[in-house]
Symmetry: C2
Subunit: 250 residues, 2 copies
Amino acid sequence: MRLTLLGTGNVQGCPVYGCKCSACLRSQQDARYSRHLCSALLEHDGKKVLLDANHPQLQQLFPAGTIDAILLTHYHMDHVQALFDLRWGVAPSIPVYQPNDPQGCDDLFKHPGLLQFQPANQANIPFQLVGVEVMPLTLQHSKTTLGYCFNSPQGSIAYLTDTQGIPAESWDYLLEKKPDFIVIDCNNSPLQRPKNHNNLQDVLTLAERLPNTCWVLTHISHELDCYLLEYPHCLRDNMVIGHDGLQINL
Amino acid sequence: MRLTLLGTGNVQGCPVYGCKCSACLRSQQDARYSRHLCSALLEHDGKKVLLDANHPQLQQLFPAGTIDAILLTHYHMDHVQALFDLRWGVAPSIPVYQPNDPQGCDDLFKHPGLLQFQPANQANIPFQLVGVEVMPLTLQHSKTTLGYCFNSPQGSIAYLTDTQGIPAESWDYLLEKKPDFIVIDCNNSPLQRPKNHNNLQDVLTLAERLPNTCWVLTHISHELDCYLLEYPHCLRDNMVIGHDGLQINL
């Protein structure tokens, strides 16, 4: 089982359009520091599952027939915008697993094209996908949002974005499961208190309670990147700053 | 006054994801034949106005501070999708001129960011923009849609997409104004009868009635491109197949 972070930026990405902060300038000078919108790829047994669909080169990266499924966290535009182009392809249909959000986004349900929307995932009811057990976990966001814990005989990886904190029932599951890796929404530095996302202080507190899990930060704003440039030693030993292309192999 | 076609494709673009038709294969082999989603750039007096906002490299093509205004034809996703990223920039605000569509698209009105939505344009009531007279014209589409005729002392260019036919009041204006160029929605070949777009037969009929206007085809599907490959001499003398990057100078 492999999880690749395709994008680790927040809704603004990095560089932010027009911004001249140290993080944005660094990412303009060295593309390794740029951040696409937040999404990931789960691979198992030669199969590919997209976690959210927003990559600007999605169609080039994943030619027709190579996406076995799409698993959505929620229907905010910055997580689903690539579906609008993808749907009109002349290609095999793609099953889309989703949270329970009857509205979806714009006219996706009215004109699904090649997207085959599946019955909504239910929190805490696991299902099988490309040979992996997927456990949907409730998150706390401004729109109905699910995180997912991927369980294989080799271990577990949880993918938890977008969220502010982790709701008790999801946290109970994680404390028991003790995933090897938790990819976690960390939108801001401790200097900012976002309403629907974690800041770094939130994640420091969470990571302390699962000390043997590796916590990988994602959904990172340029503001947090600036903070991390200024305070490079502010993380716990069991925390890693995510970057586009980072691979987790189990 | 200059109008540059930034994109001349229909909702699918070209190449279409997964398609192996002759038009899609040609565009994969030679990028000059590829078509982005339909949009354009109006330039006058050193100022830049985007006609719709959907180009995948919009932020790179137009760095912060270089877009003086955005003029929208309608709120279908394939015409406004670049606004969703653009709005979160750290950059000067951008006035957005728009048709009267209270719903807009997804949460653009709720979270406009740097976009400054202007009072809706009214059909047949001209206004000034970057030193050009802009005449909004009613079009016939599945969503409230405006075409625009740009009038300068050097001449006139009309930009009419998305539409099926041209409503009588707009046609009356064009017959009197006799624009030098009309950029026109031509989504399909005569073999297909799209519901909310022109096919080539529609445009042949229109072009006959304004024989001294140069009719530039846009919003072109791969299906029409295949037809044009097969029947290269099917156009009238006053018709031109649009391509990405085509410039009209007056």
